[in-house]
Every structure is written in structure tokens, then in C-alpha cells.
């Protein structure tokens, strides 16, 4: 029976638990025994989905103490000899995985978005060159297969319910001072653009009229998103940035207003079902992947479409009154 360790990041508990799917894809449903390292105070449903759960004795470890968590992973690996160690590619996970890999003398593949096998070999697929290429990478050497996995790419569906056996881990001798959290401000609980079926996204071409997007988003029951250019100029928050360096989205409809479609932006919308792009340049890269290209000024388009929708709504309500 293979052994798979999943690190549970307390800032992304559900996404971490979903990494059980990675174990399932490599070893099959019954081919592996699952271990969760719940170093933080939050571990959600991990206790009912894993076979074993490691818990830190005498208090939790904060996820930013990446050096200690890496030591903890090394310590556990020396005892349990994991076949695979899977870490979510979150802010802290991206620091923990490389540190642990270095300690274990193991190859590490970052930001994995696809898994395959070739005989006994695990094939890990990851985007490179801002998402324009896909690299298939393997780990060499005797160490465990190690990867950080992009959150929300894999979902653990039809889970097998278990009751995890809790194993206490004493980290007293592993603690490495160096980092202190001075202040933490939770971001507002705004809806995540990844959950919206319709995205109205603005780029450099609508920077002055960005406020109009909100009205169109409302009319189409969607949310506003933005390109990196708009975010870099401080006109929109980073939380709504689409692209390889922002969020990877998969809405049913993506309306790209004044967005030329740089490689890194396009990498973020390749799973959109329909794309309408509005651009003064119909040769812009985004146009070739669009279903409809509207050539012209984005502001005029938004205003025209809003008027059209409103006119139709007025007519409908008039009809109803009659």
C-alpha cells in the first residue's frame, strides 16, 4: 500500500483536502493510505476523509513558519517513508514544499495542473512560459514524488468517509525562530470571481470607464474582472485580476473589453465557454479565441448594450402591465 502525505494549509483547508484526488489519480481508490499534516488550528473535514492525521502537540504551528513545517515533514517522512508528498500551491505552501524537498533531497514539481502515470512513473504536468507551454515533468532519484498543486484544479469527488487516527507530533525541537506576524487584516468577504458564470472584464482600453463595467455585470448577473494592466495601474483590486499571474477562471461567458490578450491573460481564460471581445483592433490576440469580436470602442459598446437591455426590460414590463 502506497502512502500519500497531504499538507493542510489552514488558509485553504478545503482546497488542501481536495488534493486527496491527486493520490487517487496516481494510485487508484484503494491503492494508497492517506496522511494529513494538520499543523494549523483549522483542518475542516480532514478528520473524516483521511486515514491518519498528524496533529502538532502543545499548540498549532502557523503556516508562515515554513522552516519548522518543512522540518516536520522531513521528520514524518523519516518515520513513515511516504511515496508522495502533496502540498497546495498557496502562498505558504509554495514556501514549504521547496524547503521540505531540499531537506529530503527530493525532486519537486511546482504548480501542478495535471497528473498521469507511465508504468511506475508519475507524470506531472505544469504550465510554463506564462501558461503558453505545458511541461510534463518527472521526479528522479530515490526520494518521494513531491509536488505543489494549483488549488481548485482537482476536486475530491465521491469521497470515502473515514475516521482518521490522530497521531501527535512533537515539534518542540524543530522550532526555528525568525518570523513574527505583526498584523493580519482579513480581506473583505467579496465573492470570488472564480465562482461567477459571467465575467465582464476590462483592460487598458476601458481604464477610464471602468465604473461602467459594474452596470453591465449587474445586468448580466455576473461579476467584474480586470486585466493585469488595470490592476497594476491601481484601478482595480488584485483579487479580481484574471490571468496566469492572477486568477484562472472558467465562466460560461467572458466579455473582454479593451483587452488585447497577452499570453498570461489568455492562460487564465482558456476554459471559458464563450468569449466576446470588444476591441478597436480586431487583430488583437484575444480575437482569435473569441466567439464574437466586436470592433470598436468598448465604452460605446457597453452603453449601447445597456440601453438595449434596458429598452427591452421597459418594453417587457409595459407588456406585463397591459
Amino acid at each position: 500500500m502506497k502512502r500519500v502525505l497531504v499538507y493542510i494549509d489552514e488558509d485553504a483547508v478545503e482546497d488542501s483536502i481536495d488534493l486527496l484526488e491527486v493520490g487517487r489519480l496516481i494510485y487508484g481508490d484503494k491503492g494508497f493510505c492517506s496522511y494529513a499534516l494538520a499543523a494549523g488550528v483549522r483542518y475542516g473535514a480532514a478528520g473524516s476523509l483521511f486515514d491518519y492525521m498528524f496533529q502538532v502537540k502543545n499548540g498549532a504551528l502557523p503556516n508562515y513558519d515554513t522552516a519548522t513545517i518543512a522540518r516536520c515533514i522531513e521528520f514524518l517522512h523519516r518515520i513513515y517513508c511516504f511515496d508522495a508528498i502533496v502540498v497546495p500551491a498557496t502562498h505558504c505552501g509554495r514556501m514549504i514544499a521547496p524547503r521540505a524537498a531540499m531537506r529530503l533531497h527530493a525532486g519537486l514539481v511546482a504548480d501542478v495542473t495535471g497528473i498521469g502515470t507511465d508504468g511506475d512513473e508519475v507524470l506531472m504536468v505544469r504550465p510554463a512560459f506564462s501558461g503558453r507551454m505545458l511541461a510534463t515533468v518527472v521526479c528522479r532519484g530515490s526520494g518521494p514524488v513531491m509536488m505543489s498543486v494549483r488549488p481548485r484544479v482537482f476536486t475530491y469527488e465521491e469521497p470515502v468517509l473515514k475516521s482518521a487516527e490522530i497521531i501527535d507530533v512533537d515539534v518542540q525541537d524543530m522550532k526555528t525562530p525568525g518570523i513574527q506576524l505583526i498584523e493580519r487584516r482579513e480581506k473583505s468577504e467579496a465573492r470570488d470571481i472564480r465562482t461567477s458564470e459571467v465575467l465582464i472584464s476590462g483592460g487598458g482600453g476601458v481604464i477610464r470607464d471602468f465604473h461602467l463595467l459594474e452596470r453591465l455585470a449587474e445586468a448580466l448577473h455576473g461579476m467584474v474582472a480586470a486585466s493585469r494592466k488595470v490592476v497594476d495601474m491601481g484601478k482595480a483590486p488584485r483579487a479580481i485580476q484574471v490571468g496566469q499571474s492572477g486568477k484562472i477562471v472558467s465562466p460560461r461567458l467572458y466579455i473582454a473589453l479593451g483587452i488585447s490578450g497577452s499570453a498570461q491573460h489568455v492562460a487564465g481564460i482558456r476554459d471559458a465557454e464563450y468569449i466576446i471581445s470588444v476591441n478597436t483592433n480586431r487583430q488583437a490576440p484575444i480575437c482569435s479565441m473569441s466567439d464574437i469580436v466586436v470592433e470598436g470602442d468598448s465604452r460605446a459598446f457597453v452603453e449601447g448594450l445597456l440601453n438595449r437591455i434596458e429598452a427591452s426590460n421597459t418594453q417587457n414590463s409595459g407588456d406585463q402591465k397591459r
Partner: protein, 266 residues
């Protein structure tokens, strides 16, 4: 204050052209650019030097010797010294091998802080800063959007970081590795006209493996613990779009299309 800046030159991804017939990206002729997040890190270091002129900044880069003109320009922009680690035997190194080479050199230097970008545009694994920190036994923070303060006498840096769900402020004991997030406000200074052709060769050191003395089995593909099996272009599905204009006809057609697809539910 002594700061080491790690820099990488990467191809400008938007200039890579895609050859549909051969399913490859054409990388020749693509302009090399300083990785944007590394540029932010270096601009931050130069900003500190402007306020405290006794700050010493050394840039360290692993690159082929062809990168030399770029490195010379760094000195002309205000970097005190540049070290180019260059050896044909490094070709094909993964992040494990790369960070061990960098750690070998950094281990010989006296510094308060290592500045770098969080990610690079090409591979984009973001693993080197963390692997380097682990080999050197240093604290690490990446994704830094602002350096609040950096005081070598107090032995600490205070940084702001944007995480998944929160904005956080951390205090980090020096020496440490700090990875910056891209910030367009922090730009590299221009080269002064009179410095354009200044001879800066005395400020540049080139180090090959003969000086670093690592075993050949630790370098390049041989020294790597991961191997790229395939590199494929993630070709976009090219569609055959309906072409419209921003006029009444265009807007009517978009409206009816939205209606037909069910996006105009009341």
C-alpha cells in the same frame, strides 16, 4: 547594509511566436528581459541605497556570458558589484541544482539580506528562493508587496504580504531571503547619459565552476532531481469568430445572441 539581489533574464513571453504547423514556440529573436519581479526587488534595493548611500548592493545572476551587456548596465544604474555565475555545465539545471550553486556562492558572502522576485516569467516555479533559504538556513518570505523597513542594526525587516485571504505584516530576522511581488511603481532608474559607455569591467566578476568547485555530478541535468519529459505548446483552440462593429446592428446581434444563450434571464 549589504544586499544581494538575485536576477534572472527571461524571454519576453509575449514575443514568443507560435508555429502552428510544427507545434512549437519560436524562441529565437525573442527579446530577453530582466524578470519583472527581480526588477522590482532590485529597484527596491536601489531605493534603499538612495536614502542610505552606504548601502552596498551586489547583483548575482546565473546566465550565459552573452548576458554581459545587461549586467554592465546594472552597474551603470547604481549597483555596486555584479557577479555572473556562468558555466556551460550549468545548462539544464533544475531548481534543486540551481539553488545549490547559488547557495555555494552566497555562502562565501557576508550580507544582511537577499532580495529576489517571487516568480520568474519562464519556468515560474518560484522554488529557488525557498530552496536557497533552506540550504543557507535562513528565514524566508515571498509575495512581498511592500518593504516597510529594513534595519541592519536591529537585525530585522518588516514587510507587507498579500496572502490568499488576508493582508499580513511580518517582522523577519536578518539575514533573510525576501521575495518581492511585481510592483509597477518601483521602476529601475534610467542610466545617466554620461554613463552610457562608462567602463564598468572592474565591477563585474565572472565565476565558473572551477572557482565554485562543485562536483560535476551536482550540476546540470546530472545534478537535477526533476526532468522535463515533454514540452508542448498549450495551443489555444482557434475559433472562427463572428465579426461585428459597435453600431446598432452589432449591438442588436450581441443582444440576441445573449438572449438565445440564456444570459438575459430576468
Amino acid at each position: 547594509m549589504r544586499i544581494l539581489c538575485l536576477l534572472k533574464w527571461v524571454p519576453d513571453v509575449d514575443q514568443l511566436r507560435y508555429d502552428r504547423e510544427r507545434n512549437i514556440l519560436i524562441r529565437e529573436n525573442a527579446r530577453l528581459m530582466l524578470n519583472p519581479e527581480d526588477a522590482t526587488a532590485m529597484a527596491t534595493a536601489l531605493g534603499l541605497k538612495r536614502d542610505a548611500p552606504d548601502t552596498y548592493i551586489e547583483a548575482v545572476s546565473m546566465a550565459p556570458r552573452g548576458a554581459m551587456p545587461h549586467l554592465e548596465d546594472l552597474v551603470r544604474r547604481g549597483i555596486d558589484h555584479v557577479t555572473l555565475i556562468s558555466d556551460p555545465r550549468h545548462a539544464g539545471s533544475d531548481t534543486w541544482a540551481t539553488s545549490r550553486v547559488l547557495a555555494r556562492y552566497l555562502g562565501t558572502r557576508d550580507f544582511d539580506c537577499v532580495f529576489c522576485g517571487t516568480h520568474t516569467l519562464d519556468g515560474g516555479t518560484g522554488q529557488v528562493p525557498a530552496q536557497l533559504a533552506e540550504v543557507l538556513g535562513l528565514p524566508l518570505m515571498v509575495g512581498i508587496c511592500a518593504l516597510v523597513k529594513l534595519i541592519s542594526q536591529e537585525g530585522q525587516a518588516v514587510v507587507d504580504v498579500e496572502g490568499e485571504t488576508a493582508m499580513m505584516r511580518f517582522s523577519i530576522a536578518l539575514p533573510a531571503v525576501l521575495g518581492f511581488q511585481y510592483s509597477p511603481e518601483r521602476k529601475l532608474p534610467y542610466i545617466q547619459y554620461e554613463d552610457l559607455n562608462r567602463d564598468v569591467s572592474s565591477r563585474i566578476t565572472v565565476l565558473g565552476n572551477d572557482k565554485l568547485g562543485m562536483d560535476e555530478s551536482e550540476l546540470g541535468l546530472k545534478g537535477s532531481l526533476t526532468q522535463v519529459r515533454r514540452l508542448e505548446v498549450d495551443a489555444l483552440e482557434a475559433k472562427d469568430p463572428v465579426l461585428l462593429r459597435v453600431d446598432q446592428d452589432g449591438i442588436d446581434k450581441v443582444y440576441h445572441w445573449l438572449e438565445q444563450k440564456g444570459f438575459l434571464q430576468p
